[in-house]
């Protein structure tokens, strides 16, 4: 696999990149902090990456730079075949309610920018016979909850987009994987009360990697969340209004 990964310096992206590097995949780490990318790339190399590990600049807040970043990835890997986007924005509901600018930023990064990037990559991959686009959405996008619907809405949009992308590009050889993590213990969720079924980044990364290999359109991690969300999606509105979880 020749993968371009956005978000590989942290959390689930870091765990996933380690797995891929150790089994011999070639990687380009995309991100905005050059120093951080450099440390992570070196970490992968020393840990025994058997393919190429390179870095290139990409800022999700600047869609104008996406084409250049994808070009750089293509140059480093002689045409990448997989794009993985684990990066995203997160903020507690209250701070998003209070601060419209903050909310706008989160919606832009999680939905607009990610969709633009994935669309561009899918087009590029389709043009050369196919590949895989994998992006991290969230179970929060499956059903709106009063306690985090703003973040949830950004992910609901992304989930819908990825489902559409999967349908639209299937015939052109592009497989789309929508990862829907439940609670995973990463820096992003630090400080939040840990609910039941919380996952560890490494275990989650293993499941995600299998889904990428198989081109599974929708994957829940930890897998139990598929059934948890099935139950939650079936709750009537009246019940959703009363249970404040």
């Amino acid at each position: 696999m020749k993968a371009a990964v956005v978000g590989a310096t942290r959390g689930m992206g870091r765990a996933l990149a380690r797995l891929m590097a150790e089994r011999g995949d070639a990687l380009v780490l995309l991100g905005r902090d050059a120093a951080e990318l450099e440390v992570s790339a070196r970490d992968l190399l020393v840990r025994g990456a058997r393919g190429v590990v390179a870095t290139a600049r990409l800022d999700l807040a600047e869609p104008a730079g996406f084409a250049a970043a994808l070009d750089a990835a293509d140059r480093a890997l002689a045409a990448f075949d997989t794009l993985v986007v684990t990066a995203g924005d997160f903020a507690p509901q209250e701070s998003l309610e209070r601060d419209p600018a903050r909310l706008g930023r989160l919606l832009d990064v999680n939905f607009t920018a990610t969709a633009v990037l994935c669309q561009q990559a899918a087009e590029r991959l389709a043009g050369r016979g196919g590949g895989t686009v994998c992006a991290f959405s969230s179970v929060a996008g499956d059903r709106a909850r009063q306690s985090n619907y703003l973040y949830g809405a950004s992910k609901a949009g992304l989930s819908a987009f990825l489902e559409g992308l999967h349908l639209a590009y299937a015939d052109r050889g592009v497989r789309v994987v929508c990862v829907r993590p439940g609670f995973v213990k990463t820096a992003m969720t630090a400080g939040l009360p840990v609910p039941p079924f919380a996952g560890e980044p490494d275990a989650v990364a293993r499941v995600v990697l299998r889904a990428i290999d198989h081109g599974t359109p929708v994957v829940y991690v930890p897998p139990i969340w598929r059934w948890v969300m099935l139950a939650i999606r079936l709750l009537p509105h009246a019940v959703m209004r009363r249970v404040r979880f």
Partner: protein
């Protein structure tokens, strides 16, 4: 003001949670941050770095309710590795388990390892851990070439044996009280395989154990003794002596050893389970889990056999065993600390100088044996010369480690009694395992404490780095 308000907690992305050492006593609520990049909060707030929480006592417990704990285990990237010399530079949160997973297949082993691999490199430095090879190789700090610290005022300082030497020596064994260790450069040791050649031998009493350790130490890099704490009188100190070395390529079976099966303890053991008979039964059952242990135990557990034939040197398994069975037998049981019940336990570890010899060790063992329910098994080791680091634990002599189920004042009184013996012998206790020692006793044990305080005060005049332990033993403000 150390405590964080709940709104502050939330906006800082922190939650208040109970924090304890591996012994599960004492417990204090702290605000735990688990960043991927190690950085002190810019506001100058008191803070305590914490690794994987395998120190037993209150070394990594918040100094006051709600105090800030900086857990380092997520900062676990490798920064550089010199393939020729085995010099590894990594972020402080990298664990020995991860080092073993990544570097052992390439022929590199940690130079020093404690009895669990679930410890961070930063923690190994802060506790200056030692292993079964202390008599030959010294402690962890001997293999550290360079440390990067973020000190109390927020600045980043590099130190090493030749650079900011005093800060370096105060940080090794300094229990995380001199600054936040962010990066460590250490030398790994080359090994030819992941297998160990191990010999075990039953010894009938303390004298034979001490002599055996001394003799074995001349030829073997790793030595350790297990003492049966239920034996009294003439049999005091009887147990099993183990000698080990890394197997050469020729001796090792083809391929890496099988991964250890991990059991977990699903709930806190009820206290009746700690009755000596049942506990002993558990110990035996545990040994049976491991093939080579089974072998050793089966041959030697019959103590009378050992007594009848003291002259015959019964050799243990000669065929190589996996490294994890030799170094980390307890890692095979996840959360084994729960076996001591809800009230937790203390691990008491002390070292007495060689000059004090067998009488001092015998006195310690007798006290523990008299206390009856205290400990079932003690680990005994020879230590080599002490290090230059001010607060480093080991000194040339004998170290003894015992588990003491925590039963309140009774257990604490026992520790104070043991401490009196240790002080009289010119020894000291290990801060990584301590939760009880009084400040006046500790001051008597560590002659270089004043020197250490001077260095610490220079780098951290307000004692920004503080723990429950530093409040208890060093008199820091909570």
């Amino acid at each position: 003001m150390a405590e964080l308000k709940s709104a502050e907690l939330k906006s800082a992305g922190l939650s208040l949670e109970p924090v304890a050492g591996w012994g599960r006593h004492p417990v204090e609520r702290g605000a735990v941050a688990r960043p991927e990049r190690l950085q002190l909060p810019p506001d100058g707030r008191p803070v305590l770095p914490r690794g994987l929480g395998r120190s037993y006592g209150d070394a990594a417990v918040p100094a006051a309710p709600g105090a800030l704990i900086l857990e380092t285990a997520r900062a676990d990237r490798v920064v550089a590795f010199d393939r020729e010399r085995g010099t590894l530079t990594c972020e402080a949160g990298l664990s020995l388990a991860e080092i073993l997973r990544v570097f052992l297949p390439r022929g590199w082993f940690p130079p020093v390892t404690p009895g669990t691999k679930f410890v961070t490199v930063g923690g190994c430095v802060a506790c200056d851990v030692h292993g079964k090879n202390h008599h030959r190789d010294g402690s962890f700090g001997h293999f550290v070439d360079r440390l990067v610290l973020q000190v109390a005022d927020g600045s980043v300082v590099e130190c090493g044996p030749a650079r900011e030497r005093e800060l370096f020596l105060a940080t090794i064994g300094g229990m995380g009280l001199t600054g936040l260790i962010t990066e460590v450069t250490l030398r790994l040791q080359p090994v030819e395989s992941a297998w160990m050649v191990v010999e075990t031998e039953p010894v009938p009493g303390l004298g034979a154990m001490l002599d055996g350790l001394w003799d074995a130490g001349k030829d073997w890099p790793y030595t350790v003794g297990w003492i049966d704490c239920l034996a009294r009188g003439a049999a005091l100190g009887r147990g099993i002596l183990m000698r080990g070395r890394h197997a050469s390529q020729a001796e090792a079976p083809a391929g890496p050893p099988p991964e250890p099966r991990r059991l977990a303890v699903p709930f806190d053991a009820p206290e009746w389970l700690l009755s000596p008979v049942l506990m002993r039964g558990f110990n035996a059952a545990y040994y049976w889990k491991h093939a080579w242990w089974k072998h050793a135990w089966w041959k030697h557990a019959w103590w009378s056999h050992a007594r009848r034939t003291p002259a015959r040197r019964t050799r243990g398994a000669a065929r190589p065993v996996p490294y994890h069975g030799f170094f980390y037998p307890l890692d095979a049981i996840g959360d084994w600390n729960r076996l001591y019940g809800r009230r937790g336990f203390l691990q008491y570890q002390c070292v007495v100088p060689r000059a004090a010899g067998a009488p001092a060790v015998a006195e310690l063992l007798e006290r523990v044996v008299e206390a009856g329910t205290a400990s079932f098994l003690a680990v005994i080791k020879d230590c080599g010369p002490e290090s230059d680091a001010y607060l480093s634990f080991p000194l040339e002599g004998t170290t003894l480690a015992l588990d003491l189920p925590y039963r309140g004042a009774r257990t604490e009184a026992l520790v104070h009694e043991l401490n009196a013996t240790v002080i009289a012998a010119g020894g000291r206790v290990y801060l990584a395992k301590d939760a009880v020692t009084r400040p006046e006793d500790f001051a008597l044990m560590v002659p270089r404490l004043a020197e250490w305080r001077k260095v610490r005060d220079r780098w951290d005049p307000e004692h920004r780095f503080r723990s429950a332990q530093s409040v208890r033993v060093l008199g820091d403000t909570p």
